[in-house]
Structure formats: structure tokens, C-alpha cells
Symmetry: C2
Subunit: 281 residues, 2 copies
């Protein structure tokens, strides 16, 4: 492999690597928090990487952005207030704002440079950044949640990098306890939870931490995500009350999606046999 | 990337590559049909490649083998006679034979060496090869189907390599017409159909060829498959009559699976929004 023509993310811990053929590197910088690179690829449009890990590509980001958003929003009875922790590429923000009932969305990413680069290289993901309901903050999401008052948000979406570096604290009991405290009674947390094929131990630890923090109901969603390790990704929904899918609202949704629809909602909820056995209790 | 430590499959047409970290190459040969290699990987057990393409790994083959088999067998009212075209690693054969109602399975792979290597390096996939219901033939599957009589089989599973080289003829109208001719009235064909993210044109051509050949009902199934391009694979089920899922039988199945179950059956049938739009007619 001619490394000058491919971007490769090697993951030593899983023994896997994924590569995209690149035309050119468009940008590279060290922000205050992370190493950011933008590539023009041959078949996946633009690619942003953070600390050498694939984050978002033009071609396949719809899987992740739709699946971290719409299942959760249609599982909440009436979401008005949404926080996005991380999510600096603004693709999640765009999807959340497609829900007309949502009144206020705060995106809290510690690294403003991710958003500034997304505005240039992923303008379609940033098309709702000027929506009057959107509020972009570039501060520490953990601190934001810690300092929030009770019943101040309906849905918290944790759209973060892997649990190393800046995002590590987003996968721990202290953070989840703060989320429980500021969520409304019927509120929920949804968080990207890596690959069930490669990171089952991480999912188990995350679920334990969520339960220990006061979330009594957990559901894991499964969906494809080509550029992430294994190509098969997950998100975990945690809530204090049992959630019920607003299927009629989903059937009658007024916005377009590329992957998500009512059938895909149910499909994402289906638990593989090995997963059911791993979390039988 | 140190190429001596990784096996990499580059796919120039999709601009993607997938790699597994290897401990050693266990075997390499040129059979009469293909170039076969076996690697010991660090995290995925053994890996067989054919002409440089990943075919089967110890760790993740359960997705493919279960999903090319069980949905189709539970969609047929009473499958007794099954043919597997290709499938030389014998993993599909093993899954088919888990169904106690199946009376006779013929596996027709043109390359006997694939099976002989699977017996050595993937013994768990070959554990049912000596089942009295199993019949392993090493001949041309296209010719086999062409020469078969009417109503001679209930389910044809096409478990082949990509549509280049030996498998090319398995994706064309002539082959499908021969399948229609030898299938029972309520019979079905199920075939691996690549990635809906990367090969939508191939899926469209395949569906057209199936319809032109006399299959009136088509359904595409979606499932994860880490070692194949995009990590998201599909199979297409073609039949002459409308099929109905034997859900009670699936709920009460007497065998173990790693991925498949009733919920996963329904999940695999869910059509992503872009796929529904592409095949709305």
C-alpha cells in the first residue's frame, strides 16, 4: 500500500485497519485539544480525522447522524430541549433541528476548530447552524452538565470521540449522575457506544455505569457505519422511565432521511443473540 | 503500515481497504481456479482469502453464514431439499443442517481445495460435513443447475465470491432462468448481493436479471459483515410466490445461533430509506 495515496486508521487494540483512497490532504492543524486533518478522498467525499481516527465522511455520515438522533427523539414523548455534547461537525445538530417540536438545542463541543473546519469542508452538515433554535457553545461539556440545574433538558446526545483523551470523562459514572440530575423525569441520554463486535467490554462497563448512576432503562441501537472499526456501530439510550416509540409521528415525519425510517427504527432495536445473552440480566 | 504485519484487501473500485493484523501466513497455493491464502490473525482467528479478497474469518463468519441461511429457510414453508452453490468453506452447509426438516443438502463448489483447506483451518465450519444428509460435489454449479430437472430443489443458496472470475456467471439472467426452472413452485433463491452502500448498481442489475428470469418477489436482507467492504453486507431472496416468515418456528428453533433470532430476522428485512427509494418500482 502506497501510504501517500491512502489514509489508514490502524487500531492496534482490535487488530483492524480501515483505509480510504485519498486525492489530497486539504488541511492539517493541531488545535488546543486535538490533531485535526481533512482529506479529499476518491469515493467518500471529504474526510475529517481527529488524532488519526476517522470521524466523519461526506458519503456515509448519514448513518451515524440519523441514528444518534431520530430514534432518541421519537422515543421521547415531546422533546423540546436538547443538548449535544460533542458533535462539533454539526451533523447531529442538523438532524435534531429537523424536528419541529424542538425549541432549543445547545451544542457543547470543547473544540471550536472542529466546527470551523466543518463549516468549510462539510457545509451541508452546518446548514442549520444559524437556526434561531441553535446555540453553539465551545466549552467543556462535562462541566456544562455538572453545573446545570434540575429538569433543564429533555434529551442529552453524547456525540463524542472514543473514550480516550478529551472524551474519556463522558463514559463514566460521575458524568452520568450529573446527566440524571439535570434531565427531566421522562428525559433520556443517548450516547455513541462503539462496536458490539469489537468493544463489548466497553459497552458492558458503560451500561453498568449508567445503571449505577440512576438510569433504570437501557436500550442499545445497532447501525452500519462504514468508516468506524468493524463497520457496525451502536448507540445506547438510557432513561429513568420506560420509553415508548412515537411510531405514528415517525410515519408522518415531515423531513427527509437517507437511512432512518420506522422499519429501520425497529430494526436498530433488535438485539443480536450474542448481545441478548451478554446482557440477559 | 508495515505490510509484512498486516493483510490488506484494497478495493480500487470503491476506494476502500480493510486490514487485519496477522501473526503469520499459514498456507498459500494456486488451485486450478483461484489463489488461496490462509493467515493467522491477531484478533480474528484464521482468515481465508481468495484472489486477495477476504472470504472468511473465525471471528465474524457467523454473521454471513447465519444470514445467508436462516432467514431463507424460515421464509420457505417446508424446506427439504437445499443446494448451496459455492459455499466451499462449509459454514453455510453447517447452518442449513441445523434445520431438522431438511432432508438433503448438495453443496456444489467448483474448487475442492477451498473445502480441503477449511477442514484444516476452520474445522468448526466443517463439523457437519459427514452428516448423512450432506452431499459435497466439486463441480461447476452453473452446469449443475442447468442440467437439473423441474421441481428438483426447494432452496438454492448462492454463496459465492464477487461477480468476477469463477462466480461471474452466477449473477446473470441465464443462471437465474435455470434456477427458476428447477425450483419447486414455492421455492426460493437466496444470494449474497454485496454492499448497498458501495454496490447499489450491482444490486439493481441483479434484481432486474432476477425479475426478467421469472422471479416475481424480491427481498433484500441487510446485516453486518466486518471483513467485507463497508462492513455492511446484503443478501437477496427471490421467489415465484409471496413468502411468509414462519415466526413461531423461528421462536421455537432447536439450535443455537450467534447473531440471528426472530427480531434480527425482521431487522434484516427493514429497507433503508435510500434503498426503498432506489427500488420503489
Amino acid at each position: 500500500m502506497n501510504s501517500s495515496q491512502w489514509f489508514t486508521e490502524q487500531v492496534p487494540s482490535t487488530g483492524t485497519a480501515f483505509s480510504l483512497k485519498i486525492i489530497q490532504k486539504l488541511h492539517e492543524e493541531q488545535s488546543d485539544f486535538q490533531h485535526l486533518e481533512i482529506f479529499e478522498t476518491e469515493t467518500f467525499g471529504n474526510l475529517m480525522t481527529i488524532d488519526g481516527c476517522t470521524m466523519v465522511s461526506t458519503k456515509d455520515n448519514f448513518f451515524y447522524h440519523e441514528m444518534i438522533t431520530h430514534p432518541a427523539l421519537f422515543l421521547h414523548p415531546n422533546p423540546k430541549r436538547v443538548w449535544i455534547i460533542g458533535g462539533g461537525d454539526c451533523g447531529t445538530l442538523r438532524e435534531v433541528l429537523k424536528h419541529s417540536g424542538v425549541e432549543h438545542v445547545v451544542q457543547i463541543d470543547i473544540d471550536e476548530r472542529v466546527t470551523r473546519l466543518a463549516e468549510i469542508y462539510f457545509p451541508e452538515l452546518c446548514e442549520s447552524n444559524n437556526d434561531p433554535r441553535a446555540d453553539l457553545k465551545f466549552i467543556d461539556g462535562i462541566k456544562w452538565v455538572k453545573e446545570a440545574g434540575a429538569n433543564s433538558v429533555d434529551i442529552i446526545i453524547v456525540d463524542s470521540t472514543d473514550p480516550v483523551g478529551p472524551a474519556e470523562g463522558l463514559f463514566g459514572e460521575n458524568f452520568y449522575r450529573d446527566c440524571v440530575a439535570c434531565l427531566s423525569e421522562d428525559g433520556l441520554l443517548v450516547q455513541q457506544s462503539e462496536s458490539a463486535l469489537l468493544h463489548l467490554k466497553l459497552i458492558a462497563e458503560m451500561r453498568d455505569a449508567m445503571k449505577n448512576s440512576g438510569f433504570s432503562h437501557l436500550q442499545t441501537l445497532f447501525f452500519p457505519q462504514c468508516i468506524y472499526p468493524s463497520g457496525w456501530w451502536s448507540a445506547t439510550v438510557a432513561s429513568k422511565t420506560e420509553l415508548s416509540f412515537r411510531q405514528d409521528d415517525c410515519n408522518n415525519k415531515s423531513f427527509d432521511t437517507v437511512y432512518y425510517n420506522t422499519d429501520i427504527h425497529h430494526a436498530a432495536m433488535a438485539q443480536p443473540e450474542f448481545f441478548k445473552k451478554a446482557f440477559a440480566n
